[in-house]
Amino acid sequence: MKKTALVRVALSLAALVLSALPVFSGELDSFKNERGELKISGGTAHIPVMKEAAQKIMTVNPEIQISIAGGGSGVGIKQVGEGLVNIGNSGRKPTGDEIARYQLRVYQWAVDGVAPVVNPKNRVTKLTKGQLAEVFSGKIDNWKQLGGTDRRINLYTRDEASGTREVFWEKGLGKGQISSAANVVVSNGAMKSAVAKDPYGIGYVSVGHIDRTVSAVSLDGVTPMIRTVQDGSYGISRGLYSNTRGEPSGITKKFIDYLRTSAGKAIIRKHGFIPVR
């Protein structure tokens, strides 16, 4: 009796291990015999996903070294084009000119949105697009004008290399002006923590990066979140791209492929983006 119970346990354990193996490492199998270095830079919205994917890959195979830097979409496209990195991320589609100049291959792996965000303490959580444009151009410069406290609005924007800025400027502000008085921060992460610290601040950040430390501002009655980006009701949406110069090969190719496997998609979903089918 005891013996059979033991055998049973052993058998079920074995079955468990066998069935679990492909799930846990199947998608990483392709990295098994690889070695070498993979350099990634560019889009800062991408960083959390890149970090986790890299960590998973490097855990399975210690011979692979993946380095991740930020900089912004413009930097990513430029550096991959120059051959300084293997993968250049961008939060906007590279322009036709950029693609032709560097023979870029463009891989979209997620859909994302860009949302205006304010401090959670701020009572103003609804704006029209017209108001948004006036806030960022500096025409409306006090929260009182929007029904908030009587304090000046502190604008936060991104540097010129940012894809998030470009998308927000084009689709959110209708290519309207961004006041030169705005504070400039260098990444999505920095934008989030700046607004999280400043009760009178407003900025814009990748929808995937929104968490409890900031609150998203609804535009014309639509709250920016995964669902509204997905069903198209929230208009400021964009793709997240990884670009390579020429046809990717080796680890570079496998890394991009990995993002499109179900394990890769799970990582993408976990960090608040919508994986592409």
Binding site: T59, I66, G70, G83, A190, S193, A194
Partner: protein, 295 residues
């Protein structure tokens, strides 16, 4: 008579106030770091979830810890100092023992300019030279730990040159002439008498240079330090470094855990620099001049 007394008392009060304000503001900064960061100082701050032994033996990778950044800083500093020491000491010897009046004046001016150079300018130079060489000579040249260490070595060269030179020049004339009078050659005199005598002076310069390399952020953020890279595997890899980590976390921490690691990193960096500084002071008093010429 009374007027003088009041003025005198005011000078005394002013001095005490200024001294206390200076000391207390710096203590406030350090105290603030310690207050917020002391709880994060554990082994897992360095090694995350990996076992410390495994990480040290390079068998395990560290993901949520400072070990890669700390290792990056150590490698970076070692390399920079290794480049700077031979050239710096040789230049110092040349200035003190061989150079004529004119060339000494000219060279001193040039090294003063170099030592006052903002580190971001040296970083910009390193970065754009790398990109330039990448385009025109070889695809293999990219921002990496080698480039950073070379750029940093430019930055600290003047320290080593200056301390070597002043240490050699400070040697009394009698000592300087004894070996020569006994028939030693100029080189023998330098190698066997003068250099050993000025060892402590040169060492204090080297240690200050180490501290300078360990704390610099502006150069490395332009020449190869990245947010996430693991341990540096070769001279041509991007790398993580402690000061860059602090800068990075300060603006883009994503959760309180990460922020507390930032405080931990700040405490470690301060301790590291204080230790180096105490060491330099212990070896030789009166290094304050050299310390000042830090851009």
């Amino acid at each position: 008579m009374k007027k003088v007394c009041i003025a005198e008392r005011m000078v005394i009060v002013f001095s005490w106030a200024a001294g206390l304000l200076l000391v207390s503001s710096v203590l406030l900064i350090i105290g603030y770091l310690v207050w917020n960061g002391h709880e994060s100082i554990t082994l897992s701050l360095l090694f995350g979830e990996a076992s410390p032994l495994g990480a040290l033996l390079l068998k395990e990778r560290v993901f949520d810890g400072l070990f890669p950044a700390l290792a990056g800083t150590v490698v970076l500093v070692t390399l920079s100092i290794a480049w700077a020491i031979p050239v710096g000491i040789a230049t110092g010897i040349y200035l003190a023992e061989y150079a004529g009046v004119f060339s000494r004046t000219a060279l001193n001016l040039v090294f003063d300019i170099l030592s006052g150079m903002p580190s971001i300018v040296v970083g910009l130079f390193g970065f754009s030279l790398t990109v330039f060489l990448h385009r025109h000579y070889s695809d293999a040249i990219k921002p990496c730990i080698l480039v950073s260490s070379l750029a940093l070595s430019f930055l600290v060269l003047p320290y080593i040159i200056r301390t070597t030179q002043t240490a050699l020049e400070g040697i009394p004339r009698e000592t300087r002439l004894t070996a020569l009078a006994l028939g030693a050659t100029r080189l023998q005199n330098i190698a066997l008498v003068l250099l050993p005598r000025s060892f402590s002076g040169i060492m204090s310069g080297v240690i200050l240079a180490i501290g300078r390399c360990a704390e610099d952020t502006a150069v490395i953020m332009l020449t190869g330090a990245v947010a996430s890279a693991g341990l540096p595997r070769s001279l041509l890899s991007p790398y993580e470094a402690l000061p860059f980590y602090i800068y990075y976390i300060s603006s883009q921490y994503s959760d309180p855990d990460e922020l507390s690691r930032g405080y931990g990193a700040a405490i470690i960096l301060v301790l590291l620099c204080a230790l180096l500084f105490l060491l330099a002071l212990g070896i030789r008093k009166g290094v304050s001049h050299v310390a000042f010429r830090r851009p």
